[in-house]
Amino acid sequence: MVLEHLIDISLLVFLAVISVALLRIKDLFAAVMIFGIYSLTSASLFMVLAAADVAFTEAAVGAGISTILMLATLSITGREEKTIERKFKLLPLLIVSITGAVLLYGIRDLPPFGDAGNPAQVHVAPRYIEQSPVETDVPNIVTSVLASYRGFDTLGEVVVIFTAGLGVALIIGRRRRLPSKKEASSHE
Protein backbone atom coordinates (compact mmCIF):
# COMPACT_ATOMS: atom_id res chain seq x y z
CA MET A 1 0.00 0.00 0.00
CA VAL A 2 2.89 2.35 0.85
CA LEU A 3 4.50 1.42 -2.45
CA GLU A 4 1.36 2.28 -4.41
CA HIS A 5 1.23 5.67 -2.68
CA LEU A 6 4.90 6.19 -3.56
CA ILE A 7 4.16 5.48 -7.23
CA ASP A 8 1.12 7.82 -7.18
CA ILE A 9 3.03 10.67 -5.56
CA SER A 10 6.04 10.25 -7.85
CA LEU A 11 3.85 10.30 -10.97
CA LEU A 12 2.00 13.41 -9.77
CA VAL A 13 5.30 15.17 -9.00
CA PHE A 14 6.52 14.25 -12.49
CA LEU A 15 3.34 15.78 -13.94
CA ALA A 16 3.81 19.02 -12.00
CA VAL A 17 7.49 19.34 -12.96
CA ILE A 18 6.77 18.62 -16.63
CA SER A 19 3.88 21.11 -16.72
CA VAL A 20 5.99 23.97 -15.34
CA ALA A 21 8.83 23.09 -17.70
CA LEU A 22 6.43 23.03 -20.66
CA LEU A 23 5.26 26.53 -19.83
CA ARG A 24 8.79 27.91 -19.63
CA ILE A 25 10.48 26.16 -22.56
CA LYS A 26 11.00 28.16 -25.76
CA ASP A 27 12.18 25.43 -28.14
CA LEU A 28 8.93 24.06 -29.58
CA PHE A 29 10.37 20.76 -30.79
CA ALA A 30 11.53 20.06 -27.23
CA ALA A 31 8.08 21.07 -26.00
CA VAL A 32 6.50 18.45 -28.29
CA MET A 33 8.86 15.77 -26.93
CA ILE A 34 8.15 16.76 -23.32
CA PHE A 35 4.43 16.77 -24.06
CA GLY A 36 4.83 13.13 -25.12
CA ILE A 37 6.40 12.38 -21.73
CA TYR A 38 3.53 14.22 -20.01
CA SER A 39 1.08 12.03 -21.90
CA LEU A 40 2.89 8.82 -20.97
CA THR A 41 2.99 9.88 -17.30
CA SER A 42 -0.73 10.57 -17.18
CA ALA A 43 -1.32 7.24 -18.95
CA SER A 44 0.62 5.53 -16.15
CA LEU A 45 -1.53 7.41 -13.65
CA PHE A 46 -4.72 6.13 -15.34
CA MET A 47 -3.16 2.67 -15.20
CA VAL A 48 -2.66 3.03 -11.44
CA LEU A 49 -6.37 3.94 -11.20
CA ALA A 50 -7.17 0.64 -13.01
CA ALA A 51 -8.60 2.49 -16.04
CA ALA A 52 -6.72 0.49 -18.65
CA ASP A 53 -8.83 1.60 -21.62
CA VAL A 54 -8.43 5.29 -20.77
CA ALA A 55 -4.68 4.82 -20.30
CA PHE A 56 -4.47 3.06 -23.63
CA THR A 57 -6.31 5.87 -25.42
CA GLU A 58 -4.13 8.48 -23.71
CA ALA A 59 -0.96 6.72 -24.83
CA ALA A 60 -2.16 6.17 -28.40
CA VAL A 61 -3.66 9.63 -28.95
CA GLY A 62 -1.57 11.78 -26.60
CA ALA A 63 1.87 10.26 -27.05
CA GLY A 64 1.35 8.85 -30.54
CA ILE A 65 -0.89 10.81 -32.88
CA SER A 66 -0.69 14.22 -31.14
CA THR A 67 3.11 14.18 -31.28
CA ILE A 68 3.03 13.51 -35.02
CA LEU A 69 0.37 16.18 -35.64
CA MET A 70 2.29 18.79 -33.64
CA LEU A 71 5.52 17.92 -35.46
CA ALA A 72 3.66 18.33 -38.75
CA THR A 73 2.51 21.76 -37.57
CA LEU A 74 6.07 22.66 -36.51
CA SER A 75 7.40 21.84 -39.98
CA ILE A 76 5.12 24.61 -41.31
CA THR A 77 5.38 27.22 -38.55
CA GLY A 78 9.00 27.04 -37.39
CA ARG A 79 10.59 25.89 -34.17
CA GLU A 80 11.06 28.94 -31.94
CA GLU A 81 8.35 30.44 -29.81
CA LYS A 82 7.96 34.20 -30.25
CA THR A 83 8.98 36.00 -27.07
CA ILE A 84 6.22 38.13 -25.65
CA GLU A 85 6.46 40.80 -23.03
CA ARG A 86 5.51 39.40 -19.64
CA LYS A 87 3.56 41.72 -17.40
CA PHE A 88 2.01 40.95 -14.05
CA LYS A 89 -1.77 41.06 -14.43
CA LEU A 90 -3.93 41.02 -11.32
CA LEU A 91 -7.34 40.13 -12.78
CA PRO A 92 -6.42 36.74 -14.37
CA LEU A 93 -4.65 35.71 -11.15
CA LEU A 94 -7.72 36.69 -9.14
CA ILE A 95 -10.10 34.74 -11.43
CA VAL A 96 -7.89 31.63 -11.40
CA SER A 97 -7.50 31.76 -7.59
CA ILE A 98 -11.25 32.15 -7.02
CA THR A 99 -12.07 29.32 -9.47
CA GLY A 100 -9.52 27.07 -7.76
CA ALA A 101 -10.90 27.89 -4.31
CA VAL A 102 -14.48 27.18 -5.45
CA LEU A 103 -13.41 23.84 -6.97
CA LEU A 104 -11.60 22.87 -3.76
CA TYR A 105 -14.73 23.82 -1.79
CA GLY A 106 -16.80 21.68 -4.19
CA ILE A 107 -14.57 18.66 -3.57
CA ARG A 108 -15.79 18.58 0.07
CA ASP A 109 -19.26 17.50 -1.11
CA LEU A 110 -17.96 14.55 -3.11
CA PRO A 111 -18.42 11.06 -1.63
CA PRO A 112 -15.17 9.48 -0.35
CA PHE A 113 -12.93 7.96 -3.04
CA GLY A 114 -13.44 4.21 -3.45
CA ASP A 115 -16.31 4.00 -0.96
CA ALA A 116 -18.60 1.02 -1.58
CA GLY A 117 -21.69 3.12 -0.82
CA ASN A 118 -21.02 5.70 -3.55
CA PRO A 119 -23.86 6.38 -6.02
CA ALA A 120 -21.69 5.10 -8.86
CA GLN A 121 -21.19 1.80 -7.05
CA VAL A 122 -24.80 1.00 -6.14
CA HIS A 123 -26.75 2.07 -9.26
CA VAL A 124 -26.14 -0.31 -12.19
CA ALA A 125 -22.66 -1.55 -11.32
CA PRO A 126 -23.82 -4.57 -9.23
CA ARG A 127 -25.88 -5.85 -12.15
CA TYR A 128 -22.90 -5.55 -14.52
CA ILE A 129 -20.64 -7.33 -12.04
CA GLU A 130 -23.11 -10.16 -11.42
CA GLN A 131 -24.70 -10.61 -14.82
CA SER A 132 -22.16 -9.54 -17.47
CA PRO A 133 -20.24 -12.86 -17.60
CA VAL A 134 -23.55 -14.72 -17.99
CA GLU A 135 -25.25 -12.32 -20.39
CA THR A 136 -22.37 -11.32 -22.67
CA ASP A 137 -19.70 -14.01 -22.13
CA VAL A 138 -16.97 -11.31 -22.08
CA PRO A 139 -14.37 -11.84 -19.32
CA ASN A 140 -13.60 -8.09 -18.85
CA ILE A 141 -16.53 -6.16 -17.36
CA VAL A 142 -15.49 -2.78 -18.82
CA THR A 143 -15.22 -4.33 -22.28
CA SER A 144 -18.63 -5.96 -21.88
CA VAL A 145 -20.18 -2.59 -20.95
CA LEU A 146 -18.50 -0.75 -23.84
CA ALA A 147 -18.95 -3.37 -26.53
CA SER A 148 -22.23 -5.02 -25.53
CA TYR A 149 -24.45 -3.04 -23.13
CA ARG A 150 -23.53 0.27 -24.73
CA GLY A 151 -22.74 -1.20 -28.14
CA PHE A 152 -24.77 1.35 -30.12
CA ASP A 153 -23.20 4.20 -28.16
CA THR A 154 -19.73 2.90 -28.99
CA LEU A 155 -20.72 2.45 -32.63
CA GLY A 156 -21.82 6.10 -32.71
CA GLU A 157 -18.51 7.19 -31.20
CA VAL A 158 -16.58 5.18 -33.76
CA VAL A 159 -18.62 6.80 -36.57
CA VAL A 160 -17.87 10.26 -35.16
CA ILE A 161 -14.14 9.53 -34.92
CA PHE A 162 -14.12 8.01 -38.40
CA THR A 163 -15.85 11.07 -39.85
CA ALA A 164 -13.39 13.39 -38.11
CA GLY A 165 -10.45 11.36 -39.39
CA LEU A 166 -11.91 11.38 -42.90
CA GLY A 167 -12.31 15.17 -42.75
CA VAL A 168 -8.72 15.67 -41.59
CA ALA A 169 -7.42 13.29 -44.26
CA LEU A 170 -9.36 15.14 -46.96
CA ILE A 171 -8.04 18.53 -45.81
CA ILE A 172 -4.41 17.61 -45.14
CA GLY A 173 -4.00 14.78 -47.62
CA ARG A 174 -4.75 16.86 -50.71
CA ARG A 175 -1.71 19.14 -50.42
CA ARG A 176 0.68 16.25 -49.98
CA ARG A 177 -0.57 14.45 -53.08
CA LEU A 178 0.05 17.21 -55.62
CA PRO A 179 3.90 17.24 -55.53
CA SER A 180 4.10 13.42 -55.58
CA LYS A 181 1.96 13.30 -58.76
CA LYS A 182 4.26 15.80 -60.41
CA GLU A 183 7.20 13.76 -59.25
CA ALA A 184 5.69 10.58 -60.69
CA SER A 185 5.04 12.21 -64.09
CA SER A 186 8.59 13.59 -64.19
CA HIS A 187 9.91 10.07 -63.60
CA GLU A 188 7.95 8.82 -66.60
Binding site: L3, E4, L6, I7, S10, F14, V17, I18, A21, I25, F29, A30, M33, I34, G36, I37, L40, T41, A43, S44, M47, V48, A50, A52, A55, F56, A59, A60, A63, G64, T67, I68, L71, A72, S75, N140, R176, S180, E183, A184, H187
Partner: protein, 93 residues
Protein backbone atom coordinates in the same frame (compact mmCIF):
# COMPACT_ATOMS: atom_id res chain seq x y z
CA UNK B 1 12.33 -7.10 -4.16
CA UNK B 2 9.41 -5.42 -5.84
CA UNK B 3 10.09 -2.28 -3.79
CA UNK B 4 13.64 -2.14 -5.14
CA UNK B 5 12.31 -2.57 -8.69
CA UNK B 6 9.74 0.20 -8.20
CA UNK B 7 12.34 2.57 -6.77
CA UNK B 8 14.76 1.81 -9.60
CA UNK B 9 12.09 2.44 -12.25
CA UNK B 10 10.94 5.69 -10.63
CA UNK B 11 14.52 6.97 -10.32
CA UNK B 12 15.17 6.06 -13.96
CA UNK B 13 11.97 7.86 -14.98
CA UNK B 14 12.98 11.03 -13.14
CA UNK B 15 16.44 10.89 -14.73
CA UNK B 16 14.84 10.57 -18.18
CA UNK B 17 12.67 13.62 -17.41
CA UNK B 18 15.73 15.61 -16.33
CA UNK B 19 17.49 14.70 -19.57
CA UNK B 20 14.41 15.65 -21.62
CA UNK B 21 14.21 19.02 -19.86
CA UNK B 22 17.93 19.86 -19.98
CA UNK B 23 18.99 17.95 -23.08
CA UNK B 24 21.10 20.30 -25.19
CA UNK B 25 20.47 18.51 -28.52
CA UNK B 26 17.31 17.15 -30.15
CA UNK B 27 18.68 13.59 -29.98
CA UNK B 28 18.99 13.79 -26.19
CA UNK B 29 15.30 14.61 -25.96
CA UNK B 30 14.26 11.94 -28.48
CA UNK B 31 16.29 9.36 -26.59
CA UNK B 32 14.83 10.58 -23.28
CA UNK B 33 11.23 10.18 -24.46
CA UNK B 34 12.06 6.75 -25.89
CA UNK B 35 13.59 5.74 -22.55
CA UNK B 36 10.60 7.15 -20.70
CA UNK B 37 8.25 5.07 -22.87
CA UNK B 38 10.23 1.93 -22.04
CA UNK B 39 10.07 2.82 -18.34
CA UNK B 40 6.31 3.29 -18.67
CA UNK B 41 6.06 -0.26 -20.02
CA UNK B 42 8.07 -1.51 -17.04
CA UNK B 43 5.95 0.51 -14.60
CA UNK B 44 2.79 -1.05 -16.05
CA UNK B 45 4.20 -4.56 -15.62
CA UNK B 46 5.06 -3.58 -12.05
CA UNK B 47 1.51 -2.32 -11.48
CA UNK B 48 0.25 -5.61 -12.96
CA UNK B 49 2.36 -7.50 -10.42
CA UNK B 50 1.18 -5.24 -7.58
CA UNK B 51 -2.50 -5.52 -8.50
CA UNK B 52 -2.16 -9.20 -9.33
CA UNK B 53 -3.77 -8.74 -12.75
CA UNK B 54 -2.08 -10.62 -15.56
CA UNK B 55 -4.22 -8.96 -18.26
CA UNK B 56 -2.32 -5.68 -17.71
CA UNK B 57 0.70 -7.38 -19.27
CA UNK B 58 -1.03 -7.32 -22.67
CA UNK B 59 -1.43 -3.57 -22.31
CA UNK B 60 2.28 -3.26 -21.50
CA UNK B 61 3.01 -5.11 -24.75
CA UNK B 62 0.76 -2.76 -26.72
CA UNK B 63 2.51 0.22 -25.10
CA UNK B 64 5.87 -1.14 -26.23
CA UNK B 65 4.56 -1.34 -29.79
CA UNK B 66 3.08 2.18 -29.71
CA UNK B 67 6.35 3.49 -28.34
CA UNK B 68 8.28 1.84 -31.17
CA UNK B 69 5.96 3.10 -33.93
CA UNK B 70 5.81 6.63 -32.52
CA UNK B 71 9.60 6.74 -32.30
CA UNK B 72 9.99 5.66 -35.94
CA UNK B 73 7.45 8.32 -36.96
CA UNK B 74 9.26 11.05 -34.99
CA UNK B 75 12.66 10.11 -36.39
CA UNK B 76 11.34 9.81 -39.93
CA UNK B 77 9.66 13.17 -39.60
CA UNK B 78 12.79 14.75 -38.22
CA UNK B 79 14.90 13.32 -41.06
CA UNK B 80 12.62 13.96 -44.07
CA UNK B 81 10.11 16.56 -42.86
CA UNK B 82 7.16 14.36 -43.82
CA UNK B 83 5.81 10.88 -43.12
CA UNK B 84 5.06 10.00 -46.75
CA UNK B 85 8.70 10.06 -47.82
CA UNK B 86 9.63 6.77 -49.44
CA UNK B 87 13.40 7.06 -48.98
CA UNK B 88 16.22 8.29 -51.17
CA UNK B 89 15.61 6.13 -54.25
CA UNK B 90 11.83 6.58 -54.47
CA UNK B 91 10.93 2.87 -54.39
CA UNK B 92 7.51 3.66 -52.94
CA UNK B 93 6.21 5.37 -56.07
Amino acid sequence: MIVAAALAILVAMSMAIVRALLGPTIYDRILAINLFGTKTVMLITLIAALAGRADYLDIALVYAMINFIAMIAVLKFFEYGSLGHAGSDGQGE
